[in-house]
Symmetry: D3
Subunit: 151 residues, 6 copies
């Protein structure tokens, strides 16, 4: 039974000119792509198999990330069904020179575990055995609730 | 005053090996990125200025697109606020050999029109002067309602 | 028997920094690549099979496309042989903010329909059943003639 | 006065999966793009300034290049006008394991030398001071003539 | 005074078809590129300024990483001079499905901190205030010594 | 028995915005990647088979290459073992407008020849039959010695 903390991944992507519009800040679409990629890593690690993206919940962009800074993407599984997993993915703008970070985008993605014939396969139970894990799970659930009742 | 049909764009993207996972079907993240790109084209055309992505509504993936087929992306502005625009974006899997298409992903994105200092600027009114335009607007609104009440 | 209008495709590509030289305008080579890609889409749609590029006719570049604007590429099949198809492909510079477009490049490409062993296979007849289709075919033929007699 | 041999460039590009269609051979469009890139290098070296692509002559594809082999591109300036240069560019399929090469595509490109305001600027005279240079110039001219009289 | 642990970064890169040779395993060159990128992140975080890569020490490749697995790259600053920093960077092959990892490449890179005129600027002192930090520093130094005396 | 000169390859890469940091000069990591790619070409040509990168020797960066200039990469095999080859790879910054070149990076890479099961296979003997070849071999050996005794 994998623990929530086993699925916790942080990944960085340096913003390059091709990721940016002519305002020199990253296109929203690139951030969405990276969030799906890192979210899938958490889901694969939990499921122990390949996964497909089934859903991305409503996603708000609070601010852009300029060329030369990083997109810092944090991801973890916090709820599981029979064959599906809910993953919380947050993107921060990070300036490594100043160590400043700022939340720019948050979303929840649903992935389905699949076998080699692309058929859904069951996933294990999720354990949460540390204070840090419980905190992360609670924050994800709270953010889910806020989404349901509008922002 | 631009018409809805002035913002209607269809764009194709041939799925290449790097767009795909090791199941030879496109990553969800690539589709999200292309939807944002084409949606932004509709919004820029409507606003007559640059735009920023403000929100992507809940997005469900109904099926994958295999390498060698096209992602056919359809986009148009259907509601406008003072400085913002709602854009419906749908992705179809298209096999040009057989002319078959199949809806794989649908979403609604919100863009904000900005001036050269990145400040929000007002957008014109939206007109809908053709039957085809009215049909597209109604379909977008209905799809919005379904989203609000769960799927 | 597919109609000319069934093969009519418009596709857009936003010019990004990597598409550009240090004058901030797109390399001619990128435009050639995109013209081949969109022309192949028209040919595949007509042939109902994969195709190979056999020839690109003389191609003149009338002007560059700056970063941040679109290359708008228009393509359709207008003549067919036993196994080959002639496709007219035109590239326009498009500024979505002002809705201005301007023809920058025009060419004619020849594609050959192939089967799964890479052998040429026959293509259907081309029909032209609308005024718009007849107009497009005549424009393509006229442009062919101009090329033959020098420009 | 630069010599023809000063502009002679050979460049290689290993064919990767994204350069290929689902027949595992390179798209014609990629070859066109690389030919323009290497041709521009010869022209820049001759002109001593930036250049713009003005024309690509009729280009025939004699055969594809499979993934894992190289596109070997050979380029040199062989005729010059007041502000323009004609460049012969040939692409060979090269298998480095067997040292086999085979001509797959040949074309002639015209570039215009430009100054910092994008205005045409004059180019020097072309000298041909070696037997190898004379041979290459004659081959380019002969290939030009063949093109004019059809193939 | 930044601590060694402040510079500790783990980053993942999923191996895609274009990263691979025709043996379906990643080119060594891609791994070198990613190691430089992640090492630079550690150095920028330490220096609080931009950096340039000055040297990469001898680097051995113990094994390839197949398409569909991750390159997991670990990086931290462990020695500093007046304007330079030594960074240890290790790459592991990681299969997220099985949670297996295996060291494939290890190297030491030297970066120089620079100011806005590209001139070297001084870096702060490095502190090591935790057991984990001391362990990482000792492992990096030991690996340095082994390199000096041959492997 | 292949000759040293048969493995001599020069390749150019125009520096584009995505190859560069926010100082508009190329990342060291891109240069490392291109050196491995061109070095592998020399090794494949010598071995007559696929190869794997086994080692990159200490590599110093003497200066950056700005966007719009070329990385000119020179590579050749100069020593061989039973199944391995040593390749000298040097990168020059080249401005085609002025024909100026300047050495920026030099390294030595070791590749291993492999058969279709990825097993090492023996390589032929290396001949050096020209003055130019002998000069290149001696320069490579001398550079090896300098590395061993520090720089």
């Amino acid at each position: 039974m994998p623990d929530l903390m086993d699925t916790y991944i942080e990944n960085r992507k340096m913003i390059q000119p091709n990721h940016a519009n002519n305002l020199d800040t990253t296109h929203g679409g690139n951030v969405l792509k990276w969030m799906d990629e890192v979210g899938a890593m958490s889901a694969i690690r939990f499921a122990g198999s390949d996964v497909l993206t089934a859903r991305m919940e409503q996603t708000n962009f609070r601010g852009p990330i300029p060329v030369g800074e990083n997109a810092l993407i944090e991801s973890y599984v916090y709820e599981v069904g029979t064959t599906s997993m809910r993953v919380r993915v947050r993107t921060f703008r990070e300036d490594l020179r100043t160590a400043e970070t700022e939340l720019t985008t948050e979303s929840h993605l649903v992935y389905v575990a699949i076998d080699e014939e692309f058929e859904p396969r069951s996933v294990p139970d999720l354990t949460v055995s540390s204070d840090r894990g419980a905190e992360l799970r609670d924050a994800a659930r709270k953010s889910d609730e806020n989404n349901e009742h509008g922002e």
